[in-house]
Symmetry: C2
Subunit: 165 residues, 2 copies
Amino acid sequence: MTANTLTVASLTAEAFAPYGDVIEPRGAPTKMINQGLCGRHDDLAKLDFADGRAGISLFDAQARGLPYMVDMVERHPLGSQAFMPLTPVRFLVVVAQDAGDRPGKITAFLTAPGQAINLHRGVWHGVLAPIGSPGLFAVVDRIGDGANLEEHWFDTPYVVDTLPA
Amino acid sequence: MTANTLTVASLTAEAFAPYGDVIEPRGAPTKMINQGLCGRHDDLAKLDFADGRAGISLFDAQARGLPYMVDMVERHPLGSQAFMPLTPVRFLVVVAQDAGDRPGKITAFLTAPGQAINLHRGVWHGVLAPIGSPGLFAVVDRIGDGANLEEHWFDTPYVVDTLPA
């Protein structure tokens, strides 16, 4: 089987900005709370739901390893989706530009332990892929009825052979 | 200084139910997603905002140790507040019944690594207290203007001397 090699970069807020938010402390806290013992970094994700409501769910995902095949991406037209790892695992974040209701250029990132992300509404993305260990994630996404999943399967899949340090 | 000893129990959903939700996998997933590699446990927290909107913030909290003094509790009349640890730390959850706009009976729990909680709107609670290590927490709470913090300082504080295993 042929496959296109997919290069993976370390996740940064700047590089990820076209696709979503990196939820991580940046700079000084918005304010100090709890008698100075806790820094609050305020409102780091654009939650965006066409209808329904926000909810907190858990995703319990099996470990992935290399080589890692990306044979599909999906998107959720009705809502954003935030992934917050409750176990100290790194996970692969595959995203794609939209090219007329199908994915265009594919980009891949690897999180650092403790980094969380929020995918903006309608952004093409790969499935949740914790690397090396299973991962338990708190997920803030849309709770509601209606069709909120579109999948695109690639004729030629992508493969990840190496990861950033 | 005199203080009342506060006994700490391991956190369970059943014991915590009067105060909020324990966000943890329980039983079978609501559904399997991602070609069977991920279990989704759906909608585990009662998000409840009188106004404003839900947001995701980060709380970067300093480590606490024993003996741990509880000299105040606070509550947020306008919204629920969920705490999801992005670092594998256990944290102390102090809550109280309401007794006519002041805290009544105090109860304390210690989380297991990976457990997250959602405090229901208006529930009296202690400040975020990761034990032994600093903790970085994703927090889903109300983003909005208006007075959303009430504090109650105890004449006689409570002290935690021991923790469950």
